[in-house]
Amino acid sequence: MMSSKVEGSAPREVENIPLPPRRSALTSALLRPEAGGAISALLVFIFFAVMAGQNGFLTVLGTANWLDTAADLGIIALPIGMLMIAGEFDLSVGAVVGTSSMIVAICSGYYSLEPWIGVILAVIVSAIIGALNGIIVIRTRLPSFIVTLAMMLMVDGGMLGIAIALTGSSSISAVPSGSAQMVFASSFNQFHIAIVHWIILTVIATYVMQRTAFGNWVYATGGNAVTARLAGVPTNWVKLILFMATSLAAALSGINETLTFQNGNITLGSQYVFTGIAAAVIGGVLLTGGYGSPVGTVFGALTYGIVSLGVFFLGWNADLTDLFVGLLLLLAVLANHRLRQLAMGRN
């Protein structure tokens, strides 16, 4: 009983006192939820800099490559991480990415409407999907894992049906123009605008989680929902808002990619179901909720971006790519876990 509570002590500290009490500088740095993610990102960066530096990994283009990948994932992983801190999952993000992609493409490509109309419609539909996720989870008390899994299938199938009925196709050209192109599809030296979106969202998320009552509510909801509710935390509202934020982030990613590559596809983004959660966990978010930070999720996304692109710079057998990505991610999570145990053992 007592020993099983050792791990659980960290979340409780975070709930009650946002900043850890006085410890040695190193220990308190290592105790921060993002420490493991930061070290993972640094280690994989050094690994690929050494192993693949001569193959272009360190060039401007190489850097833009893994940073763009991290940004695409990071935009979605950020709210997924916050939702997981609040104790819930969202498996429907991939379907929302594909759906918003199709909405933008159908409006701008098939019906030749102003791109912003598609963008606004995609945002509205995504917000509704997120709200539905939240309402169903809150009302039925079913696990969000199952509710959002069902939502993923319904959204995917529903959008496919609508797209086929309207256009006869599941992959449609999207034509970006004017300000929408600048906001969602521009890039500087191959550094895509998504990186800017990601930075802005990270600043907002960090501020919300550290400086606002809502941030405390998120930690409290995931730490112990019953206690939190008794203490007056509106846990239902917290969950609803986070489900909607997750869907909206997925929509942003879908819009970005669709207008950048001028092609809407229903299957776009399906990988984020796994990689979004992976980034949050690498970044120190506990699968059981109550613990983690937006900055940690940023490092998680960076780790994934570096690893999943770095393997192609190695020049090794490409068939082994997935094997390396999986192995390095496992090592990153393991290192993260050990680090937390070590840091906590020390105090």
Binding site: G109, T260, F261, N265, L314
Partner: protein
Amino acid sequence: MNRRNSRFSTVAKLALGLSLPVLGALVAAAPATAADAQMTIAFVSGPLNDSFFPPLYQGAQDAAKAMGVKLNYIPIDEADIEATSARTMQVAIAQKPDAIVVGDFVTSVVDPYIKQAVAAGIPVYVDQSGQDQWQADGAFGFVGQQGPEVGMAAAQRLNGAGSKNILCVINVPGNPYLQAICKGLAAKAKELGIASSNLELPTADSTDQGKVSRDIGAYLQAHKDIDGIFTENAAVGTAAAAALDAANLTGKVHVGTMEISRVALQEIQNGKIDFLVNEQPYLDGYFGVVFATLYAKYGLAPVGPVATGPSIVDKTNIDKILHVFDTYPNVIGSK
């Protein structure tokens, strides 16, 4: 062979003619009088979330309308290709249609069901994939293209453009049809005395165009001797063109791709993609339904396989293709 099949089908039709009104009354809300006159064609093929298949589906629908038959399109799931290939054929056979048209993508799984359907008196027409198996399975014909021939044509074209080391990108790992194409490409490259290799994209990346583009870009950084790329769908092809653009390699590395999309056609005009292999999926769908109907009704069918590809789109014929692409949605590709 053919004649024997047709007798089977006559018997089957008689049996069906008796059972269809009953079935129709049980299953559909439609009045039974309409059901007994109309033939039903079951069409087992790929899912509509794969951009290859909407034109095929469109062709099948257009043919069904023209022929006055009922089309029952049953899609497999590419994420679970083997199990769903079996399940969809079971469903098709259980519905006792007048004929089945099937994309024989995983021959080891689908072939036994083709034999089972033929034994049950349902004529089967193999469509788009399964070119080596259809005769042995007892199907009455094949329309489509030979996977290896697509790869061979691609190697020939890229070599003609000056490529000496070709990368064949496989976007659905484990798809035997796509692998056969890269095998054909490798065989032709060997014959021409040039190098070739395969890049299988990670499953998690295959639907993410941005990631695919960066994957290919990174791979080229580590393999600087590659000067030709062949990809197996238009999204991957345009992603490859974008990767070359980013690395200032446009023109130095030649690109060809299967499938046609609006952006891919633009890239042909811009000179960023050298050629597209038009697999003409609309014809697969259209001919599939037409031949199946003619065979089920009259016992007539083309003798031997009917080839729908590989047909090539490049700067010489792009104007015509672009015109059709913009005028008739889903005939060549989605708008």
